[in-house]
């Protein structure tokens, strides 16, 4: 009898535990209502706070992004702005942080004070600065030091990101850098432009002949311009370009746009025509 009671108690306890676990992994599908964008804000915030992995984080951000889009389309821009701000939580990409805050301000101008305080447009990280230095060293024939930096994945990523922001083809950038870092191995001047030779007992400085193009250049103007533009972008120095000609020559000619709610659709890969989350999949019906 006692064992039976014990067994029943175990069963009840296990069942209760399972139920509790079921509740704790909150199923948002039943509570997401496109007619109530606030439901997306609440659920998204909750899930983002509880998220433990990339997938859960991604799903939580999708819910928030969906809420922003649905709220904007029904004229509830204050909720849309709140969803955008909620997207910032846990975000470490400065570009995405600033985009979210910018969107929030444009949707709801009353967020100005918070925007001014929280927004941070900084792209420059240690990796960005190292990326710029890597390119400078490569141009100046300091192959060893440049190669050492270029081998770091974060440095390569920083260079790639800068190239993408400028709209430059990454493969062309890579080709130029690889060309600069590939040498015959001889460099008598060790990157110092002049080497010393002895003629008739006298030391004479001569230009080093071990380079295919003058040191500090890249061999052609276009690739030089490209690398300088990436260095500028890595160091966030574009704001120092005062002339329009300078900006244009440094590949600052890409279209300049205000952030829009439609960017969230593309960024978070959501479809407003499928606002329901059913069994982990977005659907057009409950």
């Amino acid at each position: 009898m006692n064992s039976a009671i014990r067994r029943s108690m175990y069963m009840i306890g296990a069942t209760t535990l399972v139920l509790l676990l079921g509740f704790s992994s909150t199923q948002p599908a039943a509570t997401l209502d496109p007619g109530q964008p606030n439901s997306y804000l609440e659920q998204g915030e909750l899930l983002l706070a509880q998220a433990e992995g990339r997938e859960e984080t991604r799903r939580a951000r999708q819910i928030l992004a969906m809420g922003a889009v649905l709220a904007h389309r029904t004229g509830q821009d204050d909720i849309a702005a709140s969803c955008c701000i909620a997207l910032v939580d846990g975000q470490d990409d400065p570009a995405l942080i600033s985009q979210a805050w910018d969107l929030a301000l444009m949707l709801d101008p009353s967020r100005l004070a918070a925007w001014a305080q929280q927004r941070n447009m900084a792209h420059a990280t240690d990796s960005s600065a190292l990326g710029a230095e890597c390119l400078r060293l490569a141009r100046n024939a300091e192959v060893g030091d440049a190669s050492a930096l270029y081998q770091r994945a974060t440095v390569r990523q920083a260079i790639r990101d800068a190239a993408l922001r400028l709209g430059l083809p990454v493969q062309d950038v890579t080709r130029v850098i690889d060309g600069l870092l590939t040498t015959t191995g001889r460099d008598e001047c060790r990157g110092r432009v002049f080497s010393t030779q002895v003629h008739d007992g006298e030391s004479v400085r001569v230009l080093c002949d071990d380079h295919t193009h003058p040191i500090a250049t890249t061999g052609d103007v276009e690739s030089l311009r490209m690398l300088l533009a990436i260095e500028l972008e890595c160091l966030e120095s574009s704001t120092g370009l005062e002339d329009w000609a300078s900006a244009w020559s440094m590949h600052q000619q890409r279209p300049f746009e205000a952030p829009s709610i439609e960017q969230l659709i593309e960024l978070y890969q959501i479809d407003p025509a499928r606002p329901y989350l059913v069994n982990g999949q977005w659907s057009s019906t409950r």
Binding site: P34, S98, D102, L105, M106, D108, P109, L112, W115, R119, M121, A129, A132, E133, R136, R139, N140, F194, V204, R205, V206, L207, H213, P214, I215, A216, T217, D220, V221, R225, L228, E231, L232, L235, E236, S237, S238, T239, G240, L241, E242, D243, W244, A245, S246, A247, W248, S249, M250, Q252, Q253, R254, P255, F256, E257, A258, P259, A273, S284, T285
Partner: protein
């Protein structure tokens, strides 16, 4: 007359005395004996046609009479009710009965002597023939009788006499003629007409027609392409138009009733809706716009009520589907769905289902709207831009729908027609006679009057490389032969194989014909405004939706100059405005400097570098520097040599000489690269610090500060960019300076000092925008109307300013802000501009979406500002 005109009832006023005698028979002009419902329907059509021919057909009284006609017809269709009505109400007089046959009130008795004379007339005429009829009609007129009474009496006497055997008086007497619809020769005449009518109907029916509209509520949405063509003929005579016009009231009436029935008997209402909706889709262009809106709202309400009554979504959605690929059908069906989607009571599921249906019906954007007309217009625009062939029937249907939907909005209609023509002109396929036909119909629909948009638009087509020459040639042919355009003749038709030069010549010919040159001398203020408006309009119209950077560079300046002239004029500075119009700034062509020569391994450069690098004293160096004095450039190796001396050599004077040369040439890319090469993030020597600060003419952090290196790097990168830019893109700096000068001109006009050499255009425009923004807040009630929109604009500007990295981006930010401020002001200050502003905004968004560079964005934004200034000029004053 029994009644004076003022006392006449509406029925009598519209339909005549006979119709006003009372009862449904008189109202419809029908006898008591009605053989079929078709007779009733025909009578209804005839009466409705009578009303449409009346001058007051659009009045509420006319609508009341129409409703009465329909109501009478409904009553007579019920056989049992008709029996009852026959006992109560008199017969009606057929509508098409000749007046001579009509019964007169003042009818004298048919005396026996009169009847004898009538019989003798028939007998002496040789029987019942045309002579007898003519003589009897004369007899009736002489005796103030109706001929019908005499003939009735003759026929009745025949019947009476037949009871007296053997007493046959007068042979065969005619049956009472049935009027124009029957009897004797009339029958022959009508038989011929009937044959003609049948052959016409057969001809129409044999042409491919559209599918039958599904009447049942379960009909599926349109999923397959329909090979039918429109059944609408824009060339059909006005009688058919009158038929269609008269029919809309019945459809509208039915839709009204269906809304009420949706809640009480949804199933029956859905069945009936299928038929009525099909008719509505067929006949919507017969609806006046207000009736169309009402009908659409009723349809939406019908759907909502059905849903509230428990009808499932999968049965609701197909109700609004209608087969057919004709553009007018697509416009109305999609428009109806847009209005239905705007109903707040609709469930999410139904809304989603309707959206899917909408997407299958039309690829245009689904935007829920309260009004159907803007939806139809938007869909029409989308169709015109997407349609890729020259099917004349398709375009005729499209044109008819556009003509109807645009109503009195001529500008809107013209804009659609122009967009359609633009799209078709850019089709590079070889055109054929079909394109000529389409072009003729579209060209005929435009007015081509002086000052009209289409004139400016046509000029722009000649210079647009994307416009097909062959198509443009046929368009000019249509213009000359089919349009009402003045000043054009057979010489102004483009050859189909014309080259660019010939197109330009013809453009000049059109410009000369339509925009004769104004004389500068003696021009009064009105003339000045006319010139300005003219030039502004040409500049705006000529600017294509897609441009490359080369074109954008010149247009950005041109549009800024003409806009500045307009702004100065609106500020009252007429003189400067005129001067600017007559002497606009232009970009001088400047060759890019070949900086590659500085960066190559040049033998002279290497030789000079090696000599200089081995100098040990200032005295040794001076002769080499003398050779450099005559040159403004220096090779990379020579720059490396001077930098080497400046950093490595122990002699101070030598170093200072080297630094002085490097400072003199501090804008050269070679010098900057050489200094950049010398930088190090390790211990920075004082010599290196001296070199960098001297050459860059700047202050750096202390050389022991880790920030020294990164600061120097950034400065050098900026200088290198400047050097490359000046050398390779000199026109950009020209553009920047010219625009800054124009901004400064505007500030001077307002009483502010501004120096374009010290401040860039973004800073100057920023100041102008600040002033404008501050001025808005002093506008009282107008500001209240603008406040909400201004808050959003300000927020966007704040964001854009924070995001802008280069001065180009900063300038674009200020330009967009100016555009948005102007747009908001115009909307608040000038009534009736909302529609125009929406069109401009749409055009602007299209242009910006297609822009490949920030320069193109600047040009398009300036174009939008120029368009807004045109509105201000046309409305007669500054905001």
């Amino acid at each position: 007359m029994s009644q004076s005109k003022s006392n006449q009832t509406p029925v009598v006023r519209f339909l005549g005395q006979d119709a006003g005698r009372g009862g449904p028979f008189a109202l419809l002009g029908l006898p008591h004996t009605i053989s079929s419902d078709a007779v009733i329907n025909r009578a209804v059509q005839q009466r409705l046609r009578q009303i449409d021919c009346h001058p007051h057909r659009g009045t509420p009284d006319a609508s009341e009479v129409r409703l009465a006609i329909h109501s009478a017809a409904s009553q007579l269709r019920d056989p049992s009710l008709r029996e009852h009505l026959m006992r109560r109400w008199p017969e009606g007089t057929p509508i098409d009965m000749p007046k001579a046959w009509a019964t007169r009130k003042a009818t004298q008795k048919l005396t026996p002597s009169l009847m004898r004379r009538a019989r003798m007339i028939v007998g002496s005429s040789g029987g019942w023939n045309s002579t007898a009829r003519r003589r009897l009609a004369h007899l009736a007129r002489m005796n103030r009788l109706g001929a019908l009474e005499i003939i009735k009496a003759l026929g009745g006497q025949r019947g009476t006499s037949a009871r007296q055997p053997g007493h046959d008086r007068g042979g065969t007497l005619p049956q009472l003629p049935l009027g124009p619809s029957g009897g004797g020769g009339w029958l022959g005449a009508y038989a011929i007409l009937g044959l003609l009518g049948c052959s016409l109907i057969v001809t129409v029916l044999l042409r491919p027609g559209h599918e039958a509209v599904p009447a049942s509520p379960g009909a599926t949405a349109m999923t397959e392409p329909d090979l039918g063509t429109t059944t609408k003929n824009t060339g059909i005579p006005s009688t058919v138009d009158r038929d269609r016009l008269t029919h809309y009231t019945a459809i509208a009436h039915e839709l009204d009733r269906l809304v009420a029935r949706a809640s009480t008997e949804p199933q029956a209402a859905m069945e009936r809706f299928g038929t009525v909706y099909a008719l509505f889709v067929d006949e919507w262009t017969a609806f006046p716009l207000d009736a169309l809106q009402r009908a659409t709202v009723n349809i939406a309400e019908f759907i909502v009520r059905l849903e509230a009554a428990g009808v499932e979504t999968q049965r609701l959605t197909p109700l609004l589907a209608a087969a057919g690929t004709e553009p007018d059908r697509e416009m109305i069906v999609a428009g109806v769905i847009d209005v239905t989607l705007a109903s707040p009571q609709l469930s999410t599921e139904t809304r989603a289902s309707l959206r899917m249906l909408r997407e299958r019906i039309s690829s245009s954007e689904t935007i829920p709207r309260q009004q159907v007309r803007p939806s139809i217009i938007a869909i029409a625009r989308h169709l015109a831009l997407q349609h890729e062939d020259d099917d004349p029937e398709w375009w005729a249907s499209w044109l008819q729908a556009v003509n109807h939907a645009s109503g009195t909005e001529q500008h809107e209609r013209d804009s659609l027609l122009i967009e359609a023509l633009s799209a078709r002109l850019q089709d590079q396929d070889n055109p054929d006679a079909q394109w000529l036909q389409v072009a003729s119909s579209l060209v005929r629909a435009l007015g081509w009057q002086s000052g009209s948009d289409e004139r400016y638009w046509l000029l722009a087509q000649f210079g647009d490389a994307q416009v097909s020459t062959a198509r443009l040639a046929m368009l000019t042919e249509a213009l000359v032969s089919s349009s009402a355009a003045e000043g054009v003749d057979a010489r102004m038709v483009l050859a189909r194989d014309a080259n660019i030069s010939q197109r330009q010549q013809l453009e000049d010919a059109y410009e000369g014909a339509w925009f004769p040159a104004q004389t500068a001398t003696g021009a009064g203020e009105g003339q000045g405004e006319s010139d300005l408006a003219n030039q502004l309009r040409i500049a705006v119209t000529r600017f294509d939706t897609r441009v490359d950077d080369e074109r954008a560079l010149h247009e950005a300046l041109g549009l800024t100059a003409i806009s500045t002239a307009a702004v100065l004029y609106l500020q009252g500075n007429t003189q400067h405005s005129q001067e600017l119009l007559q002497n606009p700034p232009t970009l001088k062509s400047t060759d890019a400097v070949d900086i590659g020569s500085q960066l190559r391994n040049d033998a002279d450069d290497r030789a000079w570098a090696e000599k200089v690098a081995n100098c040990n004293s200032a005295a040794e160096l001076r002769p080499y520097l003398d050779t450099l004095l005559s040159s403004d450039s220096i090779g990379i190796n020579s720059a490396h040599a001077l930098v080497h001396l400046a950093v490595r050599e122990p002699e101070l004077e030598l170093r200072e000489l080297a630094i002085a040369q490097l400072t003199r040439l501090n804008d050269q890319i070679s010098v900057l690269l050489a200094i950049d090469h010398a930088l190090t993030d390790q211990r920075v020597s004082s010599r290196l610090d001296d070199l960098v600060t001297s050459v860059l003419s700047t202050t750096l952090p202390n050389r022991s500060d880790p920030a020294w290196f990164i600061t120097a790097r950034r400065l050098l990168l900026v200088r290198m960019s400047d050097s490359l830019g000046r050398s390779q893109q000199p026109q950009f700096n020209q553009l920047e300076h010219e625009i800054a000068s124009l901004m400064a001109m505007r500030l001077h006009s307002l009483g502010f000092d501004a120096d374009p050499d010290l401040q860039g255009p973004e800073a100057l425009l920023g100041t102008l925008n600040q002033l404008r923004r501050m001025t808005l807040q002093t506008q009282g009630a107008r500001y209240d109307r603008m406040e909400g929109a201004l808050g959003e604009i300000d927020a966007q500007a704040i964001v854009m300013r924070a995001r802008a990295e280069s001065t180009l981006q900063q300038y674009l930010t200020e330009l967009v802000y100016e555009m948005q401020l102007r747009r908001t002001e115009i909307d608040a200050v000038f009534p009736g501009t909302t529609g125009v502003l929406e069109n401009l905004a749409r055009d602007y968004n299209t242009r910006m979406d297609g822009a490949d560079s920030i320069l193109q964005q600047i040009a398009h934004t300036q174009h939008a500002i120029a368009q807004l200034l045109m509105i201000e000029l046309e409305r007669g004053g500054s905001t």
